[in-house]
């Protein structure tokens, strides 16, 4: 049985028997029959209530779609413009820019790692307010990054930088440096994992954009097919 045998006008239903396997049917026949069963159930599912689907509504939709498609002929220049814009934007974007597009917080997290590193290194010279601000930023970003235990450690370390700034001594400084290094290492590991994840996002985006560009290039053909189908 082919799916073209399925028609709403025929009162199609998945509960109605589909073609019986032919007498002496081969394994292929049986496999095809099973595939038809799957298709039949899928169609019953998505077309539930379709029997009441008004012809008028369908015709109206077809007319609207056809009208829209015909109007698209005049829009060709806009499509080309869009295609060019997408291609240019993508060509001019570095991987890291794409990454930042997908995960805005990564850029912020990297900046914060740098800020915390700087505050640890220049601890003695840094002013308390700026360190406290760095710690506050760190807290926000660490929460956003959901780094779990690593984030909690980072927050603790960050808070300590601010609180101890007025009466730090060599021991505290050393402890803070070590805590800061641990937090940075943990966060860098987290970011490395995130980057792998983000790469998957960028790949997906690229794939979709490539598909979109292919569709745009073939928009004339797509429109032609769609119009012919809508008739």
């Amino acid at each position: 049985m082919t799916i073209t045998a399925v028609g709403i006008g025929g009162g199609w239903s998945a509960t109605a028997p589909v073609d019986e396997p032919g007498a002496g049917g081969t394994e292929l026949d049986l496999a095809l029959d099973a595939a038809d069963g799957v298709a039949a159930r899928a169609l019953e599912l998505v077309l539930a209530g379709e029997a009441e689907f008004a012809d008028a509504a369908t015709h109206e939709a077809q007319a609207a779609a056809r009208h829209a498609a015909e109007r698209r002929i005049e829009q060709r220049a806009k499509i080309r413009e869009l295609e060019k814009k997408i291609a240019e934007e993508q060509a001019n974007k570095s991987f890291w820019e794409k990454l930042a597009d997908a995960f805005m917080y990564i850029g912020a997290a990297l900046a914060t790692v740098a800020a915390v590193t700087a505050s640890v290194v220049s601890f003695g010279a840094a002013s308390a307010p700026s360190i406290a601000a760095a710690a506050a930023t760190w807290t926000a970003v660490a929460s956003a990054a959901a780094a779990g235990g690593a984030a909690a450690g980072a927050v603790t370390a960050g808070s300590r930088f601010g609180a101890a700034s007025c009466d730090s001594n060599a021991a505290n400084l050393q402890a803070d440096v070590l805590a800061g290094n641990d937090a940075i290492a943990a966060t860098q590991e987290q970011l490395a994992q995130t980057q792998t994840f983000a790469q998957a996002v960028v790949d997906t985006e690229d794939a979709l954009r490539r598909q979109a560009l292919a569709w745009l290039r073939n928009e004339d053909e797509a429109r032609r097919v769609a119009v012919s189908v809508a008739r």
Binding site: V6, G9, R41, V46, Q75, L208, W215, E219, V229
Partner: protein, 150 residues
Amino acid sequence: MSDDQTPTREGLRAFAALDVARAVGMNRAEVRAWRTVGRARLAAGKAQAANDVLEYACFLAPDDAEAWELLGAARLALRRPGDAWSAIAAALVLEPTWKRAVLAKLCADADGRQEASERWREAAWRLAPEDEEARAALARAAGPEDGGAA
């Protein structure tokens, strides 16, 4: 949805942000009209025509979960379970429903992936509606809640 579906969600969001429909001068009603045409073609048993129109509708409105769902069904009807799964996965991440979970199960069935099929059957029942008629439809499409044979 699980974390491994986040890239799909982000990708769809990025795709939708391109706003191709507006760029080619279409409004939402026109895009919905394409989906309606695709649905009508599917109901008429013209799976290939439905596939073509629904691909176009999804291209114009990547955030239209119903269009993806219908596209998945059209591809299942065309015996393309791998492609059907891509479309149904998009519908699922946009809005998980019991129907979409059943469609995912049917993709797994068509691919002979029994374990995945069972997981989606369970997912479908977790999303099951209260309404008895819908539950009966779910049982017909996915099998009973207790995991008996479909």
